[in-house]
Symmetry: D2
Subunit: 311 residues, 4 copies
Amino acid sequence: MAMTGVLRPGHVQIRVLDLEDAVRHYRDVLGLEETGRDASGRVYLKAWDERDHNSVILRQDDRAGIDFMAFKVDSDATLDKLEADLRAHGVTTTRIPAGELLQTGERVRFEIPSGHQIELYARKTFVGSELGQKDPKPYMAKFDKGIAPMRLDHALLYGPNVDKVLEIFTQVLGFHLTEYVTLPDSDVKGALWLSCSNKAHDIAFVIHPEPGKLHHVSFYMESWERVLRAADILASNDVKVDIGPTRHGITRGGTIYAWDPSGNRFETFWGGNSSYPDLPPIEWSWEGLGEGGGLDVAARKMHETFLTVVT
Amino acid sequence: MAMTGVLRPGHVQIRVLDLEDAVRHYRDVLGLEETGRDASGRVYLKAWDERDHNSVILRQDDRAGIDFMAFKVDSDATLDKLEADLRAHGVTTTRIPAGELLQTGERVRFEIPSGHQIELYARKTFVGSELGQKDPKPYMAKFDKGIAPMRLDHALLYGPNVDKVLEIFTQVLGFHLTEYVTLPDSDVKGALWLSCSNKAHDIAFVIHPEPGKLHHVSFYMESWERVLRAADILASNDVKVDIGPTRHGITRGGTIYAWDPSGNRFETFWGGNSSYPDLPPIEWSWEGLGEGGGLDVAARKMHETFLTVVT
Amino acid sequence: MAMTGVLRPGHVQIRVLDLEDAVRHYRDVLGLEETGRDASGRVYLKAWDERDHNSVILRQDDRAGIDFMAFKVDSDATLDKLEADLRAHGVTTTRIPAGELLQTGERVRFEIPSGHQIELYARKTFVGSELGQKDPKPYMAKFDKGIAPMRLDHALLYGPNVDKVLEIFTQVLGFHLTEYVTLPDSDVKGALWLSCSNKAHDIAFVIHPEPGKLHHVSFYMESWERVLRAADILASNDVKVDIGPTRHGITRGGTIYAWDPSGNRFETFWGGNSSYPDLPPIEWSWEGLGEGGGLDVAARKMHETFLTVVT
Amino acid sequence: MAMTGVLRPGHVQIRVLDLEDAVRHYRDVLGLEETGRDASGRVYLKAWDERDHNSVILRQDDRAGIDFMAFKVDSDATLDKLEADLRAHGVTTTRIPAGELLQTGERVRFEIPSGHQIELYARKTFVGSELGQKDPKPYMAKFDKGIAPMRLDHALLYGPNVDKVLEIFTQVLGFHLTEYVTLPDSDVKGALWLSCSNKAHDIAFVIHPEPGKLHHVSFYMESWERVLRAADILASNDVKVDIGPTRHGITRGGTIYAWDPSGNRFETFWGGNSSYPDLPPIEWSWEGLGEGGGLDVAARKMHETFLTVVT
């Protein structure tokens, strides 16, 4: 009851073209903390307010993009149950052994109809934040090292069959739909924002012909002022910005989209509506997404890169 | 799974000494919207980002305080199940018929060992926000009418037997403990912050000899700057402030405590940690609550009113 | 000594194509207060933190743009002295009689080599702010009526001969140059930011073949959050945004550029460097203005409209 | 004309009981940059947005307090003229040779009737900010090292004869009175806020029987959020806070007062009204200072320490 089952986005594995360039970006510019490297060369990082060992894993490859996105569930029993439920829904699952990712337990992996690999897992080593668990101080220097988001917040994924994706997330995994966009002159939901919490979204999808594509991985900022500071830091590090600072009409969150050195888009995101499963989702028309400010409250237009640039 | 069962604080019924004074405060200074009055004279209000018909009910009485606090659950089935679970746990429950509160379904009421009346309900009329459900605009004048919090956020209640309260909320209702304070030279948890979501808290308790007491009802502000604006508006309306603007070490939220015309404390609250049931709660010592900044990061002292002034 | 001579931008007279459309924009969207209309039909407005009778005057015409921009000086003696100094510098001046603008004393008007009409005046009726002059409250509802800037801050004007304009403002009127941009492959200052105070700028110029053009009139916002609120209000009123929210590298101020219903650009501006006449101006290359983020820290590019759209 | 004569607070020399404790505070907690030490052991610091070599000088002594506060003037000629004007006004002046303070030219020192040593000087080595003078980046790590104020903003000094102090600052030095407090049941100005710019104040005085006392030295913060961050950093370094975060009604600035390790109060200050010499000062009654929120908008009371704790 209350917060159970699927809890939150737990980790994403991102493919980067040059590992050390990527580490410099995610560690020194974005300001994540490097928490480990594994035998295969992957680099693990976490944000300062995250308590589990890692949330971002970088893997060098000759093609940018996302390998998989994982959600932490509340128990081994939930992991078993959700695996069974997925299979009952016709979704093929596989088990990745504990330890395949550093400090991470067994994972249930499955491909969703948009072509993305999604994972569930119940265990990842609690390392805590540097503030500690007893009488914590309100400040540490890590808050201000680079952009320094609080956490991995969500990802936006592009691929086909988002109607079937919606079924899996809402009927099997317990997510609720918070906002959606209908395609032009149509009732078809072409873009979905989904939450397993009372956050504005924990994952989102946009319909796209190519499967398995990454639009962006999003990191949470504590304030709109921290979004501006992110812009300042990006500029000072010659990191190219795509959109923002602005507000999304969808989710009402403040945002900057920018690209890592491999061309993977990331977001520094602030605020956003709270959401609850009993509240009807907010509907956006295609015009609402563009001219109506769903994407960009200030510019109120469709940015061409939003629909075309993915990895 | 995910957000299920108990969803959120749904309504509080507050006793006020003079109804029209109270309406002026909650409507014109705090900036809630009046949504109805019932035959018994009670006044119903909601915040601008709330979608259900009411969240604050004012009842005139010769004694200030809180009549009851209620949580919305996700379905009638959950309501039935939680009622059964409460009874199995030894808690007496009663059903309040639908319609006893305007636009609100049947409620399951029970007294917890701290002497407070808590309610669960599954239905309250969805009225939406003025922004609407389709292609909403990002702004409406209501955002700036009075202090204009987004929502009822939580309440802090004072009473005895908080250990037994903890059991009910965590073992029966599915809440998780996010932070707690131990009494001086003791392991006894004397103060509890509890969440049924990934908010920092949805309800909190402090041990106190008198049962059924209200420390404060809290309303959510979108930013630290809006907390300062609240201070400005309170000052301009000669509303007495208790504590703040400051940050609580506990929850990390920004805060002002102040009193309504009847002496009921309310809070304008911003931010706060996210919480998840798999993360261990943060522990505060008694000294941590006071000198350690648990209550007030800036002043780092125990404010005497915090422990003594309740309604 | 200290703040003497030319004090601040006092008023601008803006040409609008439809007076009532313009009033709706400047009064209801931007949130200025209408303080009067004169026999010729001009409408006078002021911002909430301005104490003199008016700062923006709207005049209906069949061509948008700016009629004149005026600076308040500290005394009649200064007015006389500056008029003499201007003439000694070879600038033709004329006197506009007191009362030609409502509640405004005699003005010394002169055309500068960029083709703009500039005025100096020493007297305008003090009307105060609604907060009053004794024991003022910290808040009034006017702070939140529309975008509600604190004041007219500066204007950016486009025209030829900015080198000669620089001479007049620094050698005659006592301004200091705070930042400038050199033209491509050149030492020629093609854009100037000038201050008569310790503000980042009180007036600015960009070289342009057509004389007397208006790039934008700027209004001051108390915070970066208020700039976002401006974006929200503009969007909700279907006002087209040109650039922003972002930070200018030049001045370090937060900004939104948008257009009034007649096509006159205005800015909602926050922050900005302090400036002093003893500090050397900051130099920007042409690439620095564009790719270096001088115009837009986030996008780091030259927006084509910046150089081409003026009224 | 415009900004001439006295430009801004240039430096303060503060007496500290333990030099290295003080350096740790001003450099590591407050976040000023150490720019030098002289033969007599004094330590020189500056804030990140200051361009001259130093603004805070720490001198070890067995008694805390302020040795002197100095203002930079625009030229040697002004220095000579103001010295002559001071003498004509009956103020004794002495010349301190260039180089007595590191990187600082000749200073004109004089005691004002409140018992404080005030200095004027025209030259201090321009060292610039780390961002540089050409195509500056918008961010450097120094922005976030400690509290990191932008600049020395003003000081509040306590002593007798503030009426005579007012004369010197307004009639000789060209400051204008921006706000003042009258003593109880009296027209006597007991507290003065004075500006030589369009800042809310560059120096302030409160009447007090003991001469030459320091109430606080103030440092400027870019936003209200940075004031909260200052509170967090102070708490994390166990620095005792006196008042705040709150807003002063007087100046409308956001504030925290706290004490350095020697007991000298300092302020982290944000915002504040703009001021101009043609605008009448705002008047505060004694009740307005306390209950009216002149000192503290939120608490609206006289804090006892405000009147009694000085160094």
